[in-house]
């Protein structure tokens, strides 16, 4: 008992909110800078490379669509890891991380959905089909919204975080479904050609801009996530100080 509590206190020492804030304010400008740089290179590459002989110019949509789709899944994974942090170590920063990631995840999922639709119209001739990949991403989007709503519905932050964490973890079953839906059901959608065990099966001509854009989007995600976490910590600090002030005022009367 005493040993675990010691470990927890050390762990939380390493990452207590105040330290986190100091660290974040040092990292964020650098991260933002690198993100911008990556976007410039990535955008340049994605418009200067050749079109595909089959898909023509529309292949350029890939450079936004695929990173957004990857991020929508990665974001959920990060939320799940945070959820474990909340439930197992009861670490307050994990609460904050999961809460801050949800809107970002929703945004990237929306991006994947819309760019996918925009790609689908010229390629498949329709904006939307109810195939397994597309629907499971749509479900992911709904789950993000549901989790945001759930977290908002409770006004005690730590309880809200714990309850939401449980559903985040249970909902994680959706991620493998998205990832492997193309293998399990034959669908219109492409099967994996970059993230596969036997190495990417894609022309380097497309791979390079794709990878750079993926890196750019990932960095953007981390920048925004850090900023949102910082905002959330501030928000809680403000709430706690307001309460303090109210108590002190009522004491002095």
């Amino acid at each position: 008992m005493s040993e675990t509590s010691l470990a927890i206190s050390k762990f939380s020492d390493l990452a207590n909110p105040t330290r986190f804030l100091a660290l974040a304010s040092r990292i964020i400008p650098w991260l933002a800078g690198i993100t911008a740089l990556c976007f410039i290179i990535g955008l340049y590459l994605s418009f200067s490379t050749e079109g595909d002989y089959q898909q023509g110019e529309t292949v350029r949509i890939m450079y936004v669509h695929v990173p957004a789709a990857w991020l929508s899944m990665m974001c959920y994974t990060i939320m799940s890891i945070s959820a474990i942090g909340t439930l197992v170590w009861r670490h307050p920063l994990a609460d904050v991380s999961a809460k801050a990631a949800a809107p970002l995840g929703a945004a990237f999922t929306l991006l994947a959905l819309v760019t996918g639709s925009l790609w689908g119209k010229p390629m498949w001739g329709t904006w939307w089909v109810w195939d397994a990949r597309l629907t499971s991403v749509f479900i992911l989007f709904l789950m993000y919204l549901g989790l945001i709503a759930l977290n908002r519905a409770m006004d005690e932050p730590s309880k809200a975080a714990r309850v939401t964490a449980i559903l985040i973890l249970v909902g994680f079953v959706n991620i493998p479904i998205i990832k492997f839906s193309v293998d399990w059901w034959n669908t219109l959608h492409q099967s994996a050609s970059v993230l596969r065990l036997d190495g990417p099966a894609i022309d380097p001509e497309f791979l390079h801009p794709l990878l750079i854009m993926a890196i750019a989007f990932t960095l953007l995600f981390f920048t925004l996530h850090l900023m949102a976490m910082r905002n959330e910590i501030w928000r809680r600090r403000i709430a706690s100080q307001r309460r303090m002030a109210a108590r002190m005022a009522s004491r002095e009367e």
């Binding site: 329709t126 939307w128 089909v129 109810w130 195939d131 629907t135 749509f138 479900i139 709904l142 919204l145 549901g146 709503a149 759930l150 908002r152 519905a153 409770m154």
Partner: protein, 219 residues
């Protein structure tokens, strides 16, 4: 009375997001359907109006049974029964608030679902219109059930036997009006007018019956 309307609305919204949740729920239901029937767009657009109506029915039923039960459990119902304001009016307002909080968002969201189900503009418009006109009837019918449920402590069975069959005509005329608007050959107006008549009928009968049941429950 506005106070009651606002309170009930606020209570449903407190669940977090309120109207948005209703829409989200509806979206989820509709997103689940293709997994069952398969991705065949032609089929989907054909069963579209029926699915939208069933979704609306489900959304209205979820939570409807607690309409008066919650008031009874915390004692508020006692105070409502004691008032000079006619009980029918109170029931009517509660129904209106329930409809506004759960069914109205669905009506508003239904075009979006129509798009997902690959319905064309006419079908979407017709479904939205019939839903708007017909869904209050479901709430009013449900209110009778909710009132009877608290009148008979063990009346759960009776409620469902009474209520769900009554909603079937509403559903049938709603769905067939939507179809009439799209595929013909049957005209749109007759079922639509019947739907309106049903709603008006239940708007009178529902609260009156519910009020009667509530008066007789009190114990």
């Amino acid at each position: 009375m506005t106070a009651l309307f606002l309170r009930d609305l606020r209570l449903s919204i407190r669940a977090g997001g309120g109207a948005l949740i209703g829409i989200l729920f509806f979206l989820t239901v509709v997103a689940v359907i293709p997994f069952g029937v398969g991705p065949d767009l032609a089929l989907l657009s054909r069963i579209g109006p029926a699915i939208v109506w069933i979704g609306a029915l489900l959304a209205a039923l979820l939570g409807l049974d607690r309409l008066f039960q919650a008031e009874r459990d915390d004692g508020s119902l006692d105070l409502m029964l004691m008032q000079e304001t006619p009980l029918v009016l109170t029931v009517f307002i509660k129904c209106a608030a329930h409809w506004t909080a759960t069914s109205l968002p669905l009506v508003i969201a239904s075009p979006l679902l129509g798009l997902f189900m690959n319905m064309n503009e006419t079908a979407i418009g017709a479904t939205m219109l019939t839903l708007f006109v017909g869904s209050p009837a479901i709430t009013f019918i449900g209110a009778v059930g909710a009132a009877v449920a608290i009148a008979l402590p063990r009346g759960g069975l009776l409620v469902s036997v009474l209520i769900l069959p009554l909603t079937i005509p509403v559903l049938i005329f709603g769905v067939s009006a939507s179809y009439a608007a799209v595929v013909g050959p049957a005209p749109f107006l007759p079922p639509f007018l019947i739907l309106i008549a049903l709603t008006l009928f239940f708007a009178v009968i529902g609260p009156a019956a519910a009020a009667l049941a509530l008066r007789n429950t009190a114990d």
